[in-house]
């Protein structure tokens, strides 16, 4: 009796199908390459979408989940429009990014991921974006010295926004909130619970 070659025992495709948004569509890719050729950021990423899909099918779990490619997607939807198999490529890329993030395998210091985390942490506090604290958090994400430099460089823009009443300095004290803050928190907690259950993170 022969045993299956472990090379061909692809549990990663099944894992993606089960845990990643629209992951079941990955197997529909026919490797034509039109997504890669259509991507405006194509030359700047390591792995084009069809390459990522092939890597998933080849079981390259670490390489896929630690790739920066999914984080470079700007959601222009060119790939979805042109895909001859109608794969929801943009959604799959975001699904992979989210899954890699949840597993802690996403690349460290990737700027898109950093800004996404800061934005999320900011907005869930009150249900509103606090633009002042969000901007400050962005400036200081690479340390105090760099933060001061960033703030000085952006001084003119900041003052202009304050004058045009687009930025309120008093927001530093915690800022405005939505009407039902605890309701928002409950909603997010529930959404998180559902997502955990669906993506296999439930305890």
């Amino acid at each position: 009796m022969t045993t299956a070659n472990p090379k061909y025992k692809n549990s990663f495709l099944k894992e993606v199908e089960a845990n990643v948004e629209d992951g079941h569509m990955v197997k529909m890719c026919m490797q034509c390459g039109v997504c890669a050729g259509s991507c405006p950021l194509g030359p700047h990423w390591e792995h084009s979408p069809q390459k990522i899909f092939m890597m998933i099918r080849a079981g390259k779990r670490e390489e896929v989940l630690s790739s920066d490619s999914m984080w470079m997607c700007t959601s222009c939807y060119n790939c979805i429009v042109r895909c001859p198999r109608k794969l929801p490529i943009t959604h799959i890329m975001h699904g992979l990014a989210n899954y890699a993030h949840r597993l802690g395998l996403a690349p460290q210091g990737q700027p898109t991921r950093d800004i996404a985390k800061l934005f999320w942490n900011n907005i869930i506090k009150t249900g509103r974006v606090n633009e002042l604290t969000f901007s400050l958090a962005m400036y200081f994400k690479d340390g105090f010295g760099q933060g001061i430099k960033n703030a000085m460089a952006m001084q003119g823009v900041g003052l202009g926004l304050v004058k045009a009443k687009r930025l309120n300095p008093m927001e530093i004290l915690g800022g405005h909130s939505c009407k039902d803050k605890s309701g928002i928190h409950k909603m997010i907690a529930k959404a998180r619970e559902i997502e955990d259950r669906r993506k296999g993170f439930a305890q």
């Binding site: 490797q31 034509c32 039109v34 050729g37 030359p43 001859p84």
Partner: protein
Amino acid sequence: MTASIATNQTILVVGGGIAGMTAALEAAECGKQVILAEKTPTLGGRTSLLYRYFPKMCHPTCGLEINLKRIRGNPNVRVMTMTEVAAVSGSRGDYNVTLKIKPRYVTEACTGCGDCGKAVTAEVPNPANYGLDKIKAAYLPHGMAYPQRFVIDPSIVGTADGEAAKAACKFGAVDLAMQEETVEFKVGSVVWATGWRPFDAAKIQPYGYDRFDNVITSLEFERLADPRGPTGGKIVRPGDGKEAKNIAFIQCAGSRDENYLRHCSRICCMATLKQTQYVREAWGEEAKSTVYYIDIRAIDRFEDFYANVWNDATVSFIKSKVARIALNEENGNPVLHGVNTEGYHRYATEHDLVVLAVGMEPEVTGVKLPDDIVLDSSNFIEGSKSGGMFGAGSAASPLDVNRAVQSATAASLKAIQVIHKTASTEASA
């Protein structure tokens, strides 16, 4: 025209291309009465517009000539050109059909001498060359036309040109008062050999067929290579007449794409492999053909042809669906952008000319068909609910000439069975 031309023992074949001619002949040679209705002024269909067939690279005159000879010699086939089916009602063994016959303005007295064409000055886009050039408004559709009878374009009827054509005819064959006719009769079975049309390449927005002169379809390329085509067989660019030696072929232009045609059109891979050989014949070692493909589907015995083209030093293959075409404004060259999936190399490559291997769309797409007809998801004819109508050739499935003939023979046999069954039911009743 009297209605007694047909009974429910008659088979109606719709479409006079290679499949329709075959279906009609097979039934007629079995002794059945057949009416062969063709929409255009001539039999032959798209087959007669090819330069050569694959895989033997012979000319379509070859296959068509023998079929035309069979038709001429068989009193059981009645050919009606410029005729379209307006309605079909009824069911298996008992259909009522209504046909509309457009005026040709030229009677059977025509000898094909061509005097009317010489007398006329107006020109119309030449249907035999997909509109790449113009033809006099009194014309013979093409050299192999059957019947060998001129046609007068309706645009010159009622003009001085029309009168000039009439005056020029020594045989009194021009009849400008001809009107559209409608005929109704009964038939027992209908074979739909309505064929295909090239997918409208302008719908593939990123390829710019409607924007760039030097992006053409494979059907147009077929005419460029043909000595009877608009350039006398010289492979030059429609944009500026420059010799086209470095030619890109883009496969699956419309086919295998949920946005356009869902199905694989089957013929385009072999058509392109064949066309690379036109380029080689024209320019020898200077020729440079590049085939952009997803995968090459050269089925069964065509594999040899593919292997030979693969070994041809003038032909290279790039595994990639081209993402978009841009234009080099300076020299009019199309620039192809995409990613070669073998190694994931990004390219931006210039060519003299781009040929889109466009897919096959059933000619009946968008046409209201009888309720009895059953279509598949790509509008190919699967059959009929009552079992008395059949699809044949590329109306039934995307097929090359050889397989269209096989399909038509099969459909013809099914139609004959319907007629036999009808006859025996009536005999026992």
